[in-house]
Subunit: 250 residues, 6 copies
């Protein structure tokens, strides 16, 4: 049930039965020469909507730009400063708490969002508490980083092994091939090296210096739409479980 595709009386009715909502959050950033820039936002959105449909749970609009300062040395990458992303999440949540939403499961597609997302949660807790808001003490947040669910990881280990990597991974590229079969980039030459280097990095310039084509540790040539389809089902199920756990806890 996508909030965007419902009416306000629908939402009013829904709030009579549940205070839970799923929030897709991703990023718009380079994913190597064969990965789409929208990967993190579009994967999170698809999984969130998939889980929402099966659960009958409300799904909010996608936060499609994330905290991706470290990707900024590659054309087309976008980022919010952490302070802006905190404001975005704060306003997003505050708008919904005003209507009665209380339990927020973020389905996240980008590792770089995690620190700022958690910072935003506490910015909100602090504000709610200080202002004596009706939602203070009742709001709960959770996050499902879809790529790190136990079963997604098990699948990735078996299917891709070490070539899964940690950015522009086989898993996310597979999922995008499944979701956007017509948009798979055609490469003039194979990726070189096949498996990308994997380093600690410091800021955007250093990131590019040590990962010249943008990938970290992955060989996305192993990706396929078939894998993507199976990963989608697994990721949706894991998101559903996370939502149920968050919303049914006392």
């Amino acid at each position: 049930m996508r909030l965007q595709l419902r009416t306000w009386p629908d939402v009013e009715g829904y709030l009579g039965t549940s205070t839970g909502i799923i929030v897709p959050i991703g990023s718009t950033e380079q994913h190597g020469p064969s990965g789409l820039i929208g990967t993190d936002a579009l994967c999170a959105e698809a999984i969130a909507i998939g889980a929402g449909e099966r659960l009958g749970a409300m799904v909010g609009p996608t936060i499609n730009i994330g905290m991706a300062v470290h990707h900024m040395a590659f054309a087309g990458s976008m980022t919010y400063r952490p302070s802006t992303l905190i404001a975005v999440i704060r306003d997003y949540v505050m708008a919904l708490t005003a209507h009665g939403f209380r339990r927020f499961l973020f389905v996240n597609g980008h590792g770089g969002n995690i620190p700022t997302l958690q910072s935003a949660w506490y910015e909100i807790h602090a504000e709610l508490r200080q202002s004596g808001d009706a939602a203070a003490g009742a709001v709960r947040f959770g996050v499902q980083n879809w790529w790190s669910g136990a079963q997604v990881k098990a699948y990735a280990d078996e299917a891709f092994g070490a070539a899964e990597g940690s950015h522009a991974t086989c898993t996310e590229i597979s999922l995008m091939q499944f979701l956007y079969p017509d948009h798979a980039p055609v490469l003039a030459a194979p990726l070189d090296p096949a498996v990308a280097p994997h380093h600690t990095f410091h800021g955007p310039e250093h990131y590019r210096a040590v990962h010249p084509d943008g990938r970290i540790g992955s060989d996305p040539s192993l990706a396929s739409a078939d894998h993507g389809g199976r990963l989608f089902d697994i990721a949706v199920m894991e998101a559903m479980a996370a939502y149920e756990k968050l919303t049914t806890a006392e």
Copy 2:
């Protein structure tokens, strides 16, 4: 050409030929009992992508929450505070100017965004100028409010007359029926009154007091997917013209 569905080398190549980009901006807010909450974001997104495809122009990710404080008395409406939306637009634009984008056409789906959007432009001009950024003096912004293009308005006048209204309009409801044919709400009873009242309003409580079901001045029962399809083509053409004007001006 959607930025999200391209790779970073694609964007690098594109920037060799153009510094223009189309930015969809909408809102997530009530649109009356028969209008979808995502109307403003989803219409703007579709028109922007439509124009981008025909033009071969880059289209950025959608800013899907807007400045809708006045709609907040209806369940499900979301809003950024103006100060947050300024930060969002500022970071969005700054990320892209860093790569070389210079001309930004916003395809806007929500009248309430206009003041804050224009405020954001000057916040950016001021910052670029003060910091001596390479983009200072070269960045240009334009906005196409799709519903107020001359031909869209002419169509609406003829098709809907005074019942077009100014919120939850026949035009935007038609466009959504065309774009999302499976999501048209089914009403238990006809809208009452058929044509909604139309008042000046002051803040969210007063908005609801004078527009009890959320519509302003419209009778969206006149909307249809057929109208929507024709309006889509017109709106796309008007957005294309606005983009060409913005990007070809010296």
Copy 3:
């Protein structure tokens, strides 16, 4: 009745009879070679005070710097960033709501202020609502852009026709000659061209590139103190009507 020229017991008494206040807002920016930099603030102030006197309405201190980033390529122009102007208006209004003021008519002298002014209103509505302030739901804002009142425009059309222009207009230069008869600049040579060019502009550098002496579309040599005096009376009456409408509405 100027707030600055009253005592606190006077204001306490006034609040027993009215919750309305007139707020002059202008700008300090270039007005071409023959226009004074303070035109927008001083015109708004004079009209606001004129209306306040005839109405017995309270008039607050003048917000004399506005959003004028686009004028910054001319010496002496000043500007608030939009984010600063929002904070200024927010604090101005919040101080007065704390005492019981509820209806705020801004008499505005500068078109460039309008988007930020409207953004500020919603920033305030959002904050009042979230904090559960006593003024939430009761505060109302209006703006009288004095130069665009129906009768001012009719006068300008008849007196100046197309040479009225849209910056450093005959109307505002006339009003300044009426208000500050001793400060009319003496030009070494006539303005050249007599009627200034009129272009769309993008940021301060581009503004100056296409409007080299700062005027937009006007021939202020047509201005006179006589016109100014008549325009003053018209503008005051239109501001009075706007105030009465705002303060008497239920």
Copy 4:
């Protein structure tokens, strides 16, 4: 020479001869039952303009709202939060440094502004330095708190002694009677007590608890327009001296 009453070519010419400017800053706050709310802004403005005229120095627009949180328990008092006032002063100065102004003498009418004014100076120094602005290292600030000039204080000591007080003082009330002779409030009964109490205070509620009518330590019935006229001349001369010292120092 008031910036507001000059043209941009005038300012350009002035900057060829001087980089100095006088900035009036005051407050809009209660001044007891017999003092006008605008006292601090209007006195500072008059003294600044007086000094500017005699010096041929540029005078900027008046910052007419100050930091007056402690006066907010009296109707009609206005205040900027300190953070807002810092932004106001920052934008004011930054606009002028962009044109070439470098030495800023604030003529201040309100003691409560001093800490925030000084904070703003360092906020600006920090920003200029970090951004490598052309004005970094060259900008200088000074403040003339007119009421505490040596000769103003000597006059006050002799004329009013201990009854001068420290808020709604005989000195400032006299100056207002000189400047605004038609606006002297008429009291129904003499002030009681004649000389107001004088306490340390903590926040707005406590301020009012210990200074019930708003005055601190003063007996403004001793004020007169005659005193005001003489004080005006003294204050103007002291402001002139401060300006010359600031602008001629190497």
Copy 5:
């Protein structure tokens, strides 16, 4: 080498040999009935100074308040909002980059700081890059969360097993008993239950509801100054290794 206990010529000399600095960051928050509120700041400070002494590395002043919103339902807990902590870390780092410091190892005593610390790093990277600062591309950050170093964890596993817990842990309580032997709290009765509960928590109220005395999962009665002394040595060595890795990497 503590920055606070050196002179500016000392620092100038040091910068000729190294651009590295160690930054202690902790928190001031409840640590259960037997743990001191300053535990996280004081442990981090002692380890940072210990490592700095042995390395001859500069150690900055301690950031002694952290992000501890979740502890705020217990008396004496303090917190920065995440947005404030970002500003604190930003200013801390920017002051030092202005002098030439480039590599910053944070020795951290509080898990709750990690997200905000990482957010701050990217806020800084973004600002340095946008402003074209000399330090852009050269600044590197690292963090040593002392309690989670491999050898500290190994020691804790062996010494305390599952009773180590995750807040008010045996490890940190031991370290404090070693560092502040005279300040060990005396309990009127044993902790009850001996091993504290361990739950997921949501905001400060919920934290206290599920961890009534503030501890999470620990039995700090197992702590001792002896353990603390050994843990101190281990933690210092691990911090030294982290510093050497950060500062010697190309």
Copy 6:
């Protein structure tokens, strides 16, 4: 009684008997060739703790970085921008008011902090008042600038006369020699000139231009640990008196 060395039940107990707290605030900035960078923070901390011990009053963690923009041209100096320091003090105080603290005595070691500290107090008063916080109207702030207590000044006059100076003073250097006897810098040559120059300064570059070694007006060679010990006792007594006055006032 240091908050950092107490447990949360201790603080709960303390709040049953007192709502007062002492807050050390200093700076980390150059103090000339023979003064330690941490002088202002470490002096304030020691005096605050000394007073707290003798009074049985709670002492919070030290704000060890202050507003020292003007010292930034000397290596190792650190500073918060004024806006950051306001946020720091605001969060510090708000965390404690949430637990019931109401009276805050700042023991300050740095003159440059005073304006920002006072600004912060009013930022807090404004926020408490607007949000209807329970602490509004009850919070009181005081500051003891230890070096300007009447008896400290009398001692300094007698012991050091004009050579006391106003930065890197004999008084503070003495106190540091008493507190940190092992860290007195050894100079290769006597300070030259013996007594430093004393000028008005404008921003960090100008500060260094007129005070080349960082000192202002002092000859710290007159300092001694003996003087420091006696000054410590005096300063502690004056801080105690200030605390008692602040906390016992009705």
